[in-house]
Symmetry: C2
Subunit: 445 residues, 2 copies
């Protein structure tokens, strides 16, 4: 009997079907099998709540209970976990989370404003009720930074946290640097492209970053969530002039959330910050987020990824739900599986032989500088169905009659390159072995 | 009554007291209070085993049982978790892990060779015995990458993993690029500095990286640990010439471990790789490690930190032990606390007022180009006890009689800068407001 049969499905109710809610439903549906293979039990959406039932969200809600009032999720006996994706620091989101905790239901939320303002009380209530409170999605989107701080770095006394926590600001500052344009101009463009809201103040004045920093600081330092204690400055006053001068001096300007243990207390601040361009975090560009953590044992570690967006945020929500599937029992078979998937659900996907690997190549060869050499080489590559991305011939060193020829290829299959190299090395005009180094563009997708 | 009293100490036995073992003992001792505040129970070293009892390791072993034979840890009733830090893919390390599992003891190990070669069988045995198997320390040192893949990204079908997994190789390649020197020369220096072993083949021929890649691939894709399936090439043949040519073309050369889902199987390979220099992972320099993961929902995420070293590795070992403290019971009070520390153990460290924050500053001011302006400004800064790191005066734009003066200060306290800015703005020769942007060097420590 499969271990998956031991516990039934984890039943979840989702409040809020905006882009994150819809993506969460999609992800749970699309990866239903994989999640069961990880958790040893399925995760099933049993109920949802949103304002407009008729809207087409591109998701199938057949067989899922619909509650016009989100608060009904807290009372639904078919819901074990309430996923709060409504947003807002007060009102319905707060009422729902409190009601869910009171009803003994686990809570997963992406609501940074709620936790920044009421996180200590909500966490305390959840501890008292013995329920799970997952909020990975509330900070830095899909980056598992809460888990890293709360668990992965648990052996450290955390000294400092530096975060690029708002994608809109980072997009604007990156574009200002790359184009030399001013804030207002780039903001207007970001609004057109959907990277900034019509009312951008929540992002560009640093409030959103401060929400996330308040949460991170509590988890890093074990203190209460203190949004009111964060000094907040946004990026409206950063000029193209300052970005250009900073760059001349070797610095980039980023909106940074900073939490630092000092002698007499904790520094807690969000403001534009010059960072040396040689630091990894200074090179986090566009709408991406990153968090640099300094622990006393591990030293610096950095976590980078998409800080917003429907799918990355849904990724974090689902990770929290997977954690909840592992809390219900002391049964070791419902813990985190050692190799990530249940032992009876391991994949047997084969390893490809090296000849079948697909990648691009850097080739360097030593050739006599004679007419026809390049023609011979390009002919061989064409015959092997390899297309050339770039070719450079280097002048020989003095007294050397051999030139270095460097070729970058587009992606091809390794066996074709092997064949081409054999033929190239057989040319009279080529001396010795061809140097071959594989090349990966690491494009986002 | 404190919740800490609910369960007694977690009792651990450590096999192997090299630098990692000694650091683990130190870290557990130094952070005993903090760990109890996180876990709700202490973690206590009850037994150790190493070859030489007389050696001074800078740690206090009073009150800790000493076993001359590591195998005795598996039979010690005062040991609940066996921490295997002996190393080696077979022999005593393997025997001890197997005996510990058979005895129903949890296992934490930093042993990449063991898991690369026997990981599937060991994980299976541990699952069957219902015990925990922690091996965060086996891959990428202190970076919590196993936790990220196994838990934090559990909502994703992982598509690709790219890792800089060997610090020695990355140090050598970085130094070769920065200095233009050849492999043999830089290796010899790395050996002198302790960055490379006397017999470097395990590192520079890619075997160590392949061990780690084999483990990562299993956790990422849910397949068996398949070290034999990894195509391995090291960095001995990478020349200064190729590094320089790659750089001219906009690429860096890194020893990369690559696991990629392809159409018909998994690509699994370790080899020198050209990467566009604009990618974040191309800028991971020196002995640091990084892992870039592509998930289908979250997109690209990257994890960076120290991949080796006694303290970073001990950080990962302790994180695994903290996880074990949370497995012993279904009691919700021994789960991961929502705000990282037990609710009755929250710190009340105050938030510093902004005036007390210490940082460096970029100041830009608009001044009339008259004799004595710089003297006035530097006098004010000196009076406010602010020392200057750099000062640049920019020629005025045509028709403008004002010049931009840019100052970078060393670290000072915010109230001093406030006072200085007020005085500078009061100068007749200075026009308008002083632009102030804070500056953080983000040095490693």
């Amino acid at each position: 009997m499969s271990r998956s049969a031991k516990l039934g499905a984890l039943k979840i109710g989702i409040a809020g079907l905006g882009t994150v809610g819809a993506s969460t439903v999609k992800l749970l549906h699309q990866h239903a099998d994989m999640l069961a293979e990880r958790c040893g039990r399925p995760i099933r959406v049993t109920a949802v709540s949103a304002r407009d039932r008729s809207r087409d969200r591109g998701i199938d809600l057949a067989g899922i209970a619909w509650h016009a009032d989100a608060m009904a999720l807290a009372g639904d006996p078919e819901v074990e976990v309430v996923v709060e994706l409504i947003g807002g620091s007060d009102g319905i989101a707060k009422n729902l989370v409190e009601a869910a905790i009171a009803a003994g239901k686990h809570v997963v939320t992406a609501n940074k404003a709620l936790l920044a303002r009421h996180g200590t009380a909500i966490a305390r209530a959840a501890e008292d009720a013995g329920i799970a409170l997952g909020y990975e999605a509330a900070v830095a989107g899909g980056i598992p930074i809460i888990k890293a701080l709360r668990e992965g770095l648990a052996g450290n006394r955390i000294q400092r946290v530096y975060g690029i926590l708002n994608g809109t600001c980072n997009y604007i500052l990156t574009t200002m640097r790359q184009t030399g344009r001013e804030f207002a101009d780039v903001l207007a463009e970001a609004q057109k492209l959907g990277y900034a809201e019509a009312d951008p103040s929540f992002d560009v004045d640093g409030v959103d970053a401060a929400h996330k920093l308040a949460i991170l600081t509590s988890v890093a330092f074990g203190c209460e969530v203190n949004f009111a204690g964060v000094h907040v400055e946004g990026i409206r006053h950063v000029s193209a002039t300052d970005i250009a001068f900073a760059e001349e001096l070797g610095y980039r300007i980023k909106l940074l959330g900073i939490a630092r243990r000092a002698e007499n207390g904790i520094e807690l601040r969000v403001h534009p910050t010059l960072i040396p361009e040689r630091r990894l975090i200074a090179n986090v560009d566009g709408a991406m987020n990153a968090v640099l953590v300094l622990g006393d044992a591990v030293g610096p570690t950095l976590y980078y990824g998409a800080g917003a967006g429907a799918e990355p945020t849904a990724s974090a929500v689902v990770a929290d739900l997977v954690d909840v599937t592992r809390l219900h029992t002391a049964d070791p078979h419902h813990r985190v599986p050692h190799l990530a998937f249940q032992p009876d659900q391991m994949s047997d996907t084969p390893i490809l032989p090296m000849e079948e690997v697909r990648t691009a190549y850097y080739l360097r060869l030593h050739a006599f500088d004679r007419p026809g050499v390049l023609a011979d080489i390009t002919r061989i590559l064409a015959d092997c169905e390899i297309s050339i991305d770039a070719m450079v011939q280097k002048e020989p060193a003095e007294g050397d009659e051999l030139v270095n020829i460097i070729l970058l290829t587009h992606i091809t299959v390794e066996k074709n390159i092997n064949a081409a190299i054999t033929k190239i090395e057989a040319l009279d005009s080529v001396s010795g072995k061809v140097m071959r180094i594989r090349l990966e563009e690491l494009a986002a997708k």
